[in-house]
Symmetry: D2
Subunit: 210 residues, 4 copies
């Protein structure tokens, strides 16, 4: 997908399909973040409180993706009732899994890159905006997050440096970082594949895009 | 217990035993509140966000009870490793139960009275303070909550009037209100019974109180 | 309730109200038993397998209570849609609670008496049968369980003697035994209270009993 | 991996690495199967009972993989403490996910192929056995399952034909079948990749294989 954009793809449908999948997994982020706190058996500590505050901050963020889709002319109800692609469902499943078992600190590995990525993808977002002639109102999910997540990213850094006192914890955080990043990359692949299907043979899945 | 205080009981140990149980169930309030949001399958709505924000607000409140106990000369570690009394464990169990199944709005029935009760118990708290000659620093759990919960109580009221649009939901909220109130009352009975055991025959459970 | 029966109460409605509550909590026994296995993080061991086999054995037992109620002329649908009394809901909540946290062996404290009680209550059941002139077909829940549970009781005994190797585990099992027994006793009280309400003033709750 | 075997690979280490991953995901099958029953809110029905019985049947099956590994000279403790590969962890996460939410019948899509696959892979297993000169005692996981699962496969078929009465349920079962099969295929790829790493550059992960 990144490649297609860097080669000049100007078809908004690629962006739309990506936003739909973003909507799907973003819906679960507050919930799996809260679950980390819920399973905490020990005393209230700064990490416990961080998880609940972070969950509260994330609540409703998927509505930004829905808003952007609406601005782009997509019926929100069609998005809500659509099923996530395989890669998206797999990321969702993985994020619940690492939230409910294993090292309670490991989910920070996901936050680490997820709250930090907006700088790295800035060039891609700018290319998307220009090539697909999108207004900022059609990209609030990404533009708002770039701002919101600056604060979050800092908190995540501070929390990691506070709690990662053993090699095991570092390894667990690093593993979740790598695997959640890999699974997110797979979403981009699936999105591009779906887009190509749509372009070459049409797609019953995206009939609402026509 | 209320009766004993209104009859002039001036033994701090009664207050201490009650604070210990308060510590135990308060530890779970942020977690069972967050669980209501986690099980929400539908779209982010104001109630979903309320649950997560409320959970974040409640996180760590048990530390106030622990602080007061410390000021009263009780070893926090003895409190942390103590086991809740039967009535306290039953209230904890019930609050998880009504949070993870049934009408997701029903937990508001607990918040309704729990965030509102500080006015009603003001006279009792004043009597406790006077009779047991406690300083405000030994009662932060109750004095802080009286302030904090004013805002919460208002939010709970607003939320109930917003979401309780069917008779079924009213009934579910009312049932949880009555049952959680009854189970909390049972804690007061158990606390007083334990206190009497301690006074009349000593108690291995409260050896750290001597 | 036991007292009323020993004093010769011959009103089937008392038995019926009790069977309805039995239906309600029995519905959850297979599920909370299975949860003990689900939370097991370690290696498969005999206790893990015991929990799953026991859960499979318990599945559907509430249908016996429903069958008996039907034989007694009660509409099963009215039972299914009825709400458990407070004491019954509290027992259900407690059994989930002790199944999902704490010492994984502690639920054996509930099985210990629940699978063993049929001998102890044999006299009461005989009195119920005689005084209320019930046929065995209207008492299958209790007569079948008396047989089924002989085998279970033995397995529970064996399991306890195998796993209860520390004092902590003995204490945890004992605590759950005492508390679950106390909460079940409370159901008998609530049932009798409801029966008395029905007799003295009628009851909208049990309109289907008239 | 399949390709490597069909091209005559006779290195037991490929089989061993595969068995280790099999051990890892098999450990969770009884638990995620039981969870389907636990979340059932309705009346006990044949599917509810099927889930619990099937879970009981699956309990401890990973011990067969561990047994085979032991026969092959691998220290069971090294296997138990090893971490699953990314693809294996992702399958585990996915199976919990489809067990705890969505259509409760959808997990049958996994059982459908998982209990049926032993015929299809018979040729591969025979090739492995011959090329790697394995005894049947080193392959009990697969040989036993081929027998055990014949009965299970039939029960799964019957259950699907009984419960799949709507198109939605068919679609949900089919989706889980496809996605769980895809994720399992990914394990074979990861296993082969790990094997190649080991052969070409050695591997700290598999130091216990040397």
């Amino acid at each position: 997908m990144i490649q297609a954009i860097s080669q000049g793809c100007s078809d908004r449908r690629l962006y739309i399909i990506y936003l739909i999948e973003t909507y799907h997994y973003t819906r679960h982020n507050a919930k799996n973040q809260a679950l980390v706190a819920v399973r905490f058996e020990g005393e209230s500590n700064p990490y416990f409180q961080f998880c609940l505050h972070h969950a509260a901050d994330e609540a409703g963020h998927e509505l930004m993706a829905l808003h952007d889709l609406k601005k782009l002319g997509i019926d929100p109800q069609a998005v809500i009732t659509s099923e996530p692609l395989a890669a998206t469902e797999v990321l969702i499943a993985y994020l619940y899994w690492i939230s409910v078992q294993g090292n309670p600190y490991q989910r920070l590995g996901y936050s680490f890159w997820a709250e930090n990525c907006y700088q790295s993808i800035d060039a891609v977002l700018k290319a998307i905006q220009k090539q697909m002639t999108l207004t900022l109102k059609e990209m609030t999910f990404f533009t708002e997050h770039a701002t919101l997540d600056k604060k979050h990213a800092e908190m995540v850094h501070q929390m990691i440096s506070k709690i990662a006192t053993t090699e095991q914890t570092w390894n667990d955080i690093e593993r979740v970082m790598q695997r959640s990043l890999m699974l997110t990359g797979k979403i981009l692949d699936d999105v591009y594949e779906e887009y190509q299907k749509l372009v070459t043979r049409g797609s019953s899945r995206y009939s609402f895009l026509e």
